[in-house]
């Protein structure tokens, strides 16, 4: 799976960056409007870093690309992206080969990292509300013997539902919480970014499932 991480990250760059304005507009409504730039600059740095990461252990690929993102575009999203990737990478550190069976573990470690760093809970209207259901869904599908493609589809569907659910939530943490009631009605920008990223990952998986 050492090709998978670079492949997915490139897919994210290609498919999410063109939608940066969507993220900017959401973040303008309940935050400071920089999330489009953050994702653009961060993913550009990730793609630049990938050259040196081809063939490296998955653990390093994850953690180093996360660090590259935050170095170029530090921000709430940047540091959370970096934390998730570093913790996810640490979860498979030293493993000779990493496969579909490790995805849920990587995801859970990443999620725990996000919660340690951001001290937010599910339901606070953050990217946790997009990521947590995705991991659960992947895990369940995988345990039920579904294929990687099927588990990925399930994860993205759960992510999309979780992201949509943030619309009705009132933000309890960070910048969006300053808007108070006015945060209700706007889909959380960070959750939306996670959703767009997982959708890009899904498209990569669909095209490359045979090789993984």
């Amino acid at each position: 799976m050492t090709d998978a991480v670079p492949g997915i990250l490139r897919a994210i760059s290609e498919q999410v960056v063109p939608q940066a304005n969507t993220l900017r507009d959401l973040d303008s409504q309940i935050g400071d409007g920089d999330l489009g730039i953050t994702v653009t600059r961060g993913m550009e740095a990730v793609v630049n870093a990938l050259g040196e990461l081809e063939g490296k252990p998955v653990s390093d690929q994850l953690s180093r690309s996360g660090m590259a993102f935050n170095r170029a575009a530090a921000s709430t999203f940047g540091v959370l992206f970096a934390t998730a990737m570093m913790r996810g990478g640490a979860a498979v550190k030293g493993k000779e080969s990493v496969g579909a069976g490790d995805v849920a573990e990587i995801g859970r470690a990443a999620l725990q990292g996000l919660m340690d760093r951001g001290k937010a809970s599910i339901g606070d209207k953050t990217l946790l509300d997009a990521l947590a259901p995705a991991i659960d869904a992947f895990d369940a599908a995988h345990k039920a013997g579904k294929s990687l493609v099927e588990a990925t589809d399930a994860a993205v569907a759960a992510c999309e539902a979780g992201t949509k659910a943030t619309i009705e939530m009132r933000s309890k943490v960070s910048r969006a919480s300053w808007v108070g009631e006015r945060s209700i009605g706007v889909q959380d920008p960070g959750a939306t970014a996670v959703m767009l990223m997982l959708q890009a990952a899904r498209s990569w998986v669909h095209e490359n499932a045979s090789q993984v």
Binding site: R24, D27, S28, I30, G31, D32, G33, D34, G36, I37, T38, T40, R41, M67, N70, R71, A72, A73, A74, S75, T76, F77, G78, V79, L80, A82, T83, R117, G118, V173, S174, R175, S177, W178, V179, R182
Partner: protein
């Protein structure tokens, strides 16, 4: 709508700003690493003294980099416009300024900053550097008083730099410098009003707008929505509304001594700040609060945003002494002589 900005490539705004500052005041600051965004006092590290690290998004000059200098902060990490600097740069700054007495982190309460600084402090502790943290959270409109820990820091963090910086310069230990910073932050209250939005250069379009003739009370320095949008009031009304919210919050009481800062968010002219101060000083006099010192000008801007904020810091004798101590930065209007 095209931007009214004198820049080159929008993605180079932050680096070229830092380059310009370094070129303008040779020796005042130095870069730790030519390719990155950690800057420290030209004479750092200063052995035997507590160091102060700050940092935050670009676009707020003189905040944050302008508050590095003798009697102020020791080092700064510079983020992209309105975005946190990276924990990498923060760690580098921490290591570069540590004079063996520990490092105080002093910055605004924004999640990108707190998460990156937290990450940096965890790494610094691994390197054996003791770090303590104080967060600016002076903006009264950003959360109710019961949730004061959620409040964001705005221009009033200046009092933290000035007071904690003087404490560090005086040779106080980390606990005492931290205590001075906490005293400054916890005794400061601010409120702002925005008359226009601002455009992040790399975004190219205004993230926020305030229609001409309108104002947004409590808007944050990145354009975070405030408490109320309404027709533009007079200067006296604005000063009155701000103090009505600021004074009861601490509260400030008759007999108190305070420092006052009237800050332009960028486009608002000095003349308007003095008109605001004129009313604010009358209100304070009427409430029996005596003004120890007034700071009026650009202290925390949001690029070309139109608007202003008032910050008030309640002083005890020690804080007043620290506030009066000399300090130097090319961005600061306070004399070496403390005038």
């Amino acid at each position: 709508m095209p931007m009214r900005k004198i820049i080159n490539d929008p993605s180079l705004v932050e680096d070229q700003t830092v380059d310009g500052i370094l070129a303008a005041f040779p020796g005042h600051l130095k870069r730790i690493d030519a390719t990155r965004r950690g800057l420290i006092r030209g004479d750092a590290p200063i052995k035997g003294k507590v160091a102060i690290a700050t940092g935050g998004g670009s676009g707020h000059l003189p905040l944050f980099l302008g508050y590095v200098g003798p009697g102020l902060a020791t080092g700064c990490s510079v983020g992209n416009v309105f975005s946190s600097p990276s924990s990498d740069d923060m760690l580098d700054v921490t290591k570069a300024i540590d004079g063996g007495e520990g490092v105080l982190y002093l910055y605004g309460n924004y999640s990108g900053d707190t998460m990156n600084f937290d990450m940096a402090s965890e790494m610094a502790e691994v390197d054996g550097i003791t770090v303590k943290t104080t967060l600016g959270r002076d903006d009264v409109t950003s959360a109710p008083k019961a949730e004061i820990k959620r409040r964001r820091g705005v221009a009033g963090i200046f009092f933290g730099f000035k007071i904690a910086g003087a404490a560090a310069e005086a040779g106080r230990d980390l606990d005492a410098v931290h205590a001075a910073a906490e005293a400054a932050v916890f005794n400061t209250r601010s409120m702002g009003v925005a008359l226009s939005g601002t455009t992040i250069p790399a975004a190219g379009e205004p993230g926020f707008q305030v229609a001409a003739g309108q104002m947004e009370m409590g808007m944050g320095i990145h354009g975070e929505p405030g408490v109320e949008v309404g027709p533009l009031l007079t200067a006296d009304q604005i000063a009155g509304q701000m103090l009505d919210r600021i004074l009861p919050d601490l509260p400030f009481s008759s007999g108190d001594t305070a420092a006052v800062l009237v800050n332009s968010l960028g486009a608002t002219a000095p003349e308007e700040l003095y008109i605001l101060y004129n009313k604010a000083s009358q209100i304070l006099r009427d409430r029996g609060i005596s003004v120890h010192r007034a700071y009026i000008g650009e202290y925390a801007t949001s690029m070309e945003m139109s608007g202003a904020s008032i910050s008030i810091c309640k002083l005890d004798d020690d804080m007043a002494k620290l506030l009066d101590a000399p300090a130097y930065s090319p961005f600061l209007l306070q004399q070496v002589g403390g005038r």
